[in-house]
């Protein structure tokens, strides 16, 4: 089992999740996060006081899947979430050792 963590632009979520569902992924969790990267921030000025806002709104998608799906899922996300501009985000892959479905107590692959 692997965990895919993808950081994407907020307004790309709709398309990415649609593509993943079409592919057959039927479980994921998203979080509103803020990201800081190569993408420049912007300036906020409150009554003449300037503040650089470096952390921009992003969405983190987390999907736990079996190993064989990893490459395909990465590909789908990468394609649908890309606009070609700096700030499109990143995908990370982490190892997962076990999964449990709370409703039933099932463990391992069956829990996904």
């Amino acid at each position: 089992m692997k965990k895919i963590e993808a950081i994407i632009r907020p307004f790309m979520l709709e398309e990415v999740s649609k593509a993943l569902t079409n592919f057959g992924i039927h479980g994921m969790t998203i979080t509103e996060v803020k990201g800081f990267g190569k993408q420049g921030g912007y300036l906020e000025v409150y009554r003449g006081e300037k503040r650089e806002v470096r952390f921009l709104p992003k969405i983190k998608i987390e999907i736990i899947i079996t190993e064989d799906l990893v490459d395909k899922v990465i590909e789908i996300i990468q394609k649908t979430a890309s606009t070609g501009n700096v700030g499109d985000g990143k995908i990370f892959v982490l190892p997962v050792e076990n999964a449990v479905r709370i409703r039933t107590g099932e463990q391992g692959l069956e829990a996904l």
């Binding site: 632009r9 307004f11 300036l43 501009n85």
Partner: protein, 430 residues
């Protein structure tokens, strides 16, 4: 010269009867008190009422820009009205088409001068009251344009539209222009305010094209409810203040306003419940606003039964316009300014021609034996609609080919608050 008094003069000429039982012999502090209050009430409709109503309906990333469009419209209209707007609308009539803008407010105006010789309120008070109507009309349009328009373009549009559409139309209907002479009925602004704004809205979205994210995603419905409450509250000044006196007529307009708003809200909610299975709060709010719009031209002409019928219909017809007409034609009227203000405005204008009860205000509609009134009403819809459409189009095309109307696509995605204003609506993390 002033709006109600003018129609009074016409009323007398038409029916040979005095219009209200309060003869105004000199200024009256009670009437002045009510008009001062009403002016503040109408002001609160725009700032913050409409700003909140529209702001809550916008996406989170566009909330400040959306609110800002209403705010700047209010401020610009406030300024221009005292400089030349009032003169253009209510100055000495020139061929029924426009007022003489020579009557600058900047020139000396004695503070205790009655608005007209027959008037119980002062002219500076009448200026203030009318100012708030001009301001909200411009602001109303913005709801259709949000989430895509340049702030600079809106700034310029507000000035031009105020000057070349609002001021003339107000003159025609209220300032002694040709529609007033035809005795078109518009108690508090169905034609001048709502149809006018609705048509400009429609033309604008056709010129600008669809947003990148052309769907309604209200980021804060509690703000929408707050805005609805302030609109409803302020509308009492709008409609009952338009009696220009603290009188039984004002009270009747107040009661009619509340009745139509309540029925608009309940009938929209019930209709939606029936059709879609769930009653929504946005439906309640939308119906309330539609009811308020529809009763606006009628408030001081119809009796309670008229108000009830107008209220019920205004919860259904605009609903159908928003839900079926818009997707059918595919125009992207962000917050349904045409669907609600335009459609309910036309509805109310026509129904006034049907339900006007002479015992209320010496004007009779179809049901009271005066079928010609309905034709006059229809005429005023067509004339105002056509004029507004053409001039709005010209203004928009001029701005499009100079400043440009729309922001860059990436700014639209990121949100206009950040890209145009460098601000965020909410900073909730610290």
């Amino acid at each position: 010269m002033s709006r109600r008094f003018l129609s009074l003069a016409i009323g007398i000429w038409f029916f040979g009867l005095p219009r209200t039982s309060f003869a105004s012999e000199g200024l009256n502090q009670g009437d002045i008190a009510w008009l001062l209050t009403s002016s503040a009430f109408v002001m609160i409709m725009t700032l913050p009422g409409l700003a909140l109503f529209y702001g809550g309906l916008s996406k989170r990333k566009d909330v400040l820009n959306t609110m800002g469009m209403s705010l700047i419209a209010y401020a610009l209209a406030s300024i221009l009205w005292v400089i030349y707007g009032y003169g253009m609308a209510f100055g000495e009539d020139i061929y029924g088409v426009i007022g003489n803008p020579g009557k600058f407010i900047l020139s000396k105006l004695p503070k205790d001068l009655p608005a007209t010789s027959a008037s119980s309120i002062t002219e500076n008070l009448f200026i203030v009251f009318q100012l708030t109507f001009a301001a909200i009309t411009v602001a109303l349009i913005s709801g259709a344009y949000i989430e895509r328009m340049k702030f600079s373009a809106w700034f310029v549009f507000s000035i031009l539209w105020f000057t070349f559409v609002y001021a003339p139309v107000a003159h025609w209907v209220w300032g002694g222009g040709f529609l007033a002479k035809l005795s078109a009925l518009d108690f508090a602004g169905g034609t001048v305010v709502h149809i006018n704004a609705g048509i400009a809205a429609l033309v604008g979205v056709l010129v600008m094209g669809k947003r990148r994210m052309p769907f309604l995603m209200p980021h804060n419905l509690t703000m929408v409810i707050l805005g609805t409450g302030l609109l409803w509250f302020g509308w009492f000044g709008f409609n009952a203040g338009s009696a220009l006196s603290a009188s039984g007529l004002a009270a009747q307009a107040f009661l009619n306003t509340n009745t139509a708003a309540a029925l608009g809200a309940v009938s929209w909610l019930l209709f939606e419940w029936l059709v879609q299975g769930k009653p929504t709060l946005l439906g309640f709010a939308s119906g309330a606003v539609a009811g308020l719009v529809a009763i606006t031209p009628a408030a001081g002409f119809v009796n309670t039964i008229g108000a009830i019928v107008i209220g019920v219909l205004s919860g259904i017809i605009p609903y159908l316009a928003v839900t079926y007409l818009k997707p059918q034609f595919g125009y992207d009227d962000s917050l349904d300014v045409f669907g609600i203000h335009g459609v309910a405005g036309i509805l109310g204008c026509l129904l006034t021609g049907i339900f006007a009860d002479p015992s209320i205000n010496n004007a009779a509609g179809l049901l009271y034996g005066n079928p010609s009134q309905l034709w006059v009403q229809l005429l005023s819809v067509v004339v105002v609609g056509a004029y507004c459409a053409i001039v709005s189009l010209i203004i928009l095309l001029i701005i499009k080919s100079t400043l440009g109307l729309r922001v860059r696509p990436e700014d639209e995605l990121v949100g206009l608050d950040e890209s145009l204003h460098g601000e965020k609506g909410y900073n909730l993390h610290i």
